[in-house]
């Protein structure tokens, strides 16, 4: 699971009011190379919850993102490279996603989060 997905994912448990962002418990993180697409990054920049993104990057062991960001930074190749790397090239292979309200853990195995809910959570 990459951070582009994590930034769009929330806890779906019945009764949870604010299930975003899920906290990341990283046991194994992989890095994969992907071709950069500046147009896509500019588009995603408008959608990304930046604080959730920075916190998630740190949980994945990547600390090169600025605390705050604005669209003028997209003119910087250095910033684009870091944004691209954190968003699309870090992959959570093993670990868990934790609901911020209930503490419920959604296990991540082989890069696949298991978001299946129990009967009493639907």
């Amino acid at each position: 699971m990459r951070l582009i997905t994590h930034n769009m994912l929330s806890s779906n448990i019945k009764g949870v009011v604010n299930g975003f962002p899920l906290r990341i418990e990283a046991e194994k993180v992989m890095e994969k190379t992907m071709e950069m697409n500046s147009e896509f990054l500019e588009k995603m920049f408008e959608k990304v919850d930046w604080k959730a993104f920075v916190d998630a990057s740190r949980a994945m062991g990547y600390t090169e993102l600025p605390e705050e960001a604005n669209s003028s930074m997209l003119d910087s190749d250095e910033f684009l490279n870091r944004f691209h790397h954190a968003l699309l090239e870090l992959d959570l292979e093993e670990g868990a996603l934790v609901c911020p309200e209930t503490g419920r853990r959604f296990p991540v195995s082989k890069g696949i989060p298991n978001m299946l809910l129990h009967e009493d959570e639907v």
């Binding site: 994912l9 779906n12 299930g19 959608k47 809910l117």
Partner: protein, 106 residues
């Protein structure tokens, strides 16, 4: 698919066949399926999208207005035959509404 669609949800993505088409056209996608066996095939095939093990009947868990498009192949049939959703009731199915919530308005 219009060229400006860049980020899609792919419900019932299975082994990633339809997702591969999305990737080949330069787009990104999140795939969701309830069958771990199919998702494992997708992992082995090293597809480019991100995968989630989840039950469509339980909702997507994707934040509103972030997806540019949605592809759902054989999803409703699968809900009726494979889904773990208990007491499945078509009149309560809000899949299309959930997808609408996830998709950004043009």
């Amino acid at each position: 698919m219009p060229q400006n669609f860049l980020y899609c949800s792919n419900s019932g993505c299975g082994s990633g066949l339809s997702g591969e088409t999305i990737s080949e056209n330069g787009h990104h996608w999140i795939g969701l399926d309830i069958l771990a066996s199919m998702l494992n095939v997708a992992v082995e095939r090293e597809i480019e999208g991100d995968l989630l093990l989840g039950d469509m009947g339980q909702g997507l868990g994707i934040c509103p207005e972030v997806m540019d498009g949605a592809i759902n192949i054989s999803v409703v049939q699968a809900l009726q035959t494979v889904g773990n959703s208990l007491n499945f009731n078509p009149s309560k199915l809000t899949l299309s509404n959930r997808l609408k919530i996830s998709i950004r308005s043009p």
